[in-house]
């Protein structure tokens, strides 16, 4: 780790940042997918009739049980068997997004179940249908309670985006590997730089979520322990 190698990594920073941008795109895609699907799975698990809820549990079991890299390969190569060509980026968003949805569904399910049953009863007693009660009464509370757990999931999937390089998404790990392959001496400094970039992103992300949490904070609605 000579000074020279650090200077070279400094000059390569734009390349690493370009890679990091791809990680961020992956992150946004997979978090959004995970949020929508995860919420749906959680609602089904809590409210749907038993056979349907069992299907949701099976879904969660599958996506939590299969290693991430295997999921990536399944989504990258799988669709070809049915004549569907899928890009590495899309495959990564789907694989990591569905996986995240399984974890997010747990967070949401816990939060929904933490909302006292009386809230639902009160909404129903006003004449709200079930879905309307969920939408206006249960979800606004459950989402607030979910933020802490969601912050964890954010940090976790942020790091997971680097796995996409396994199927050829040119993200930051791949860029760092380019540097290393070109100049063996850069191996350590390049990956130290990547580590720092992720630490900064994790900090910024959690800070933002914390800010949202404070903005949405309501007296009396905290995580009950």
């Amino acid at each position: 780790m000579t000074v020279e190698s650090w200077i070279q990594v400094w000059y390569a920073l734009p390349v690493l940042l370009r890679g990091l941008l791809v990680n961020l795109e992956l992150l946004l895609g997979l978090l959004a997918l995970g949020l929508v699907v995860g919420m749906a799975v959680a609602l089904v698990e809590v409210y749907a009739p038993r056979p349907v809820a069992a299907a949701a549990v099976a879904y969660e079991w599958f996506f939590r049980g299969v290693p991430e890299l295997v999921l990536l390969f399944l989504f990258y190569f799988g669709p070809d068997q049915f004549g569907v060509q899928i890009s590495a980026f899309t495959a990564a968003v789907l694989a990591l997004g569905f996986r995240s949805s399984a974890y997010q569904s747990q967070i949401f399910r816990g939060a929904i179940q933490a909302i006292p049953a009386g809230q639902m009863l009160a909404a129903r007693s006003l004449g709200m249908g079930r879905l309307r009660a969920i939408w206006h009464v249960v979800l606004p509370q459950a989402l607030r309670l979910s933020l802490a757990g969601w912050s964890n999931e954010f940090s976790s999937v942020l790091k997971d985006t680097t796995l996409a390089y396994g199927i050829g998404v040119v993200e930051v790990m791949r860029q760092a590997r380019y540097l290393t392959a070109r100049n063996f001496r850069l191996a350590l400094p390049a990956f130290i730089a990547v580590a720092f970039l992720f630490l900064i992103l994790t900090y910024l992300g959690n800070w933002t979520i914390g800010l949202v949490e404070r903005r949405l904070r309501i007296p009396g609605l905290e995580v009950r322990r």
């Binding site: 190569f77 050829g168 380019y178 540097l179 070109r182 100049n183 063996f184």
Partner: protein, 284 residues
């Protein structure tokens, strides 16, 4: 600088975006981390012997290519699945691989080099016996050779496998390995990078041949065009110039030459002059 950015864009449009013009386009899968066959310059350009051969043949044979960076282990599955049309990543032609893909004519013959630390006093025999720790990249010919001819035959060595070649070299430098077995060209490159620290103890003559590969049965009829293109390159002298440019000079020099010459290939689409330019500048 602005002009250069414009040039990169052009490289992208001509080599990648050909599909927009309705031109025939093939996806080339390559693990771009094996100089001098393929690597990424500090400015982010994909270059290397394999990739330039692919570009030149594409021009000669009138199709477009998109180079898609793919992990080495995934290239053949990607070709089989139809996600990638051509595998061009220093693939040794083996009977095992030929069961699932079809190969072009051989374009390179490689031997295995044994790299050791300078001053270690090891020669090709002592580096590969007497309890030596030998590193190699997983799935490569070098790893297979050590497995078959040393470990399998009871020679007292320990084989340590790595995902990438650079990792093996770094462990050699750190003293955790006694030797690394790898193809000759990348080994030469490593020794050049670490002049005074690494040295080639000897060459194992394996004569393995590299080929470009396509899906079994060549459904898109690509191989005849690759073979014909290679013949044209060799007949015109461009091939020898490309070899001179990529095997020998330092990566810095090759990169500078490539940057100076690539417009001849991309804009003028003149294969012969490009190879000449590259060789002249790289070997200056």
């Amino acid at each position: 600088m602005r002009k250069r950015a414009w040039l990169w864009a052009l490289v992208g449009i001509v080599l990648v975006g050909g599909v927009a013009l309705g031109a025939e386009k093939f996806v080339v899968g390559c693990d771009i981390a094996w100089a001098p066959f393929e690597w990424v310059s500090p400015k982010g350009a994909y270059l290397g012997f394999d990739l330039d051969v692919m570009r030149m043949i594409a021009i000669l044979e009138g199709y477009e290519i998109e180079i898609r960076d793919t992990a080495f282990d995934s290239i053949i599955p990607a070709v089989v699945a139809g996600k990638v049309d051509i595998g061009a990543s220093g693939f040794t032609i083996t009977a095992e691989r030929a069961e699932v893909v079809d190969f072009s004519q051989a374009y390179w013959t490689s031997d295995q080099a044994v790299v050791v630390r300078e001053g270690s006093g090891l020669n090709i025999v002592t580096a590969l016996s007497g309890g030596a720790k030998v590193g190699a990249q997983r799935g490569t010919t070098g790893a297979g050779w050590v497995e078959d001819n040393l470990v399998g035959k009871g020679v007292n060595v320990t084989l340590v496998l790595y995902e990438t070649y650079p990792e093996a070299v770094l462990d050699l430098l750190a003293g955790r390995l006694d030797a690394v077995v790898q193809d000759e060209a990348p080994s030469q490159q490593a020794v050049k990078e670490y002049a005074g620290q690494l040295v080639i103890a000897g060459i194992i003559k394996t004569y393995e041949e590299f080929g470009f590969l396509v899906a079994k049965g060549d459904p898109k009829r690509i191989l005849p065009r690759i073979n014909e293109g290679m013949a044209k390159l060799k007949a015109s002298g461009a091939w020898d110039n490309l070899v001179a440019a990529y095997f020998g000079p330092s990566l810095d020099k090759i990169e500078a030459a490539w940057e100076a010459c690539i417009s001849i290939l991309v804009e003028e689409r003149d294969v012969v002059r490009y190879a000449q330019c590259l060789a002249d500048r790289a070997t200056q």
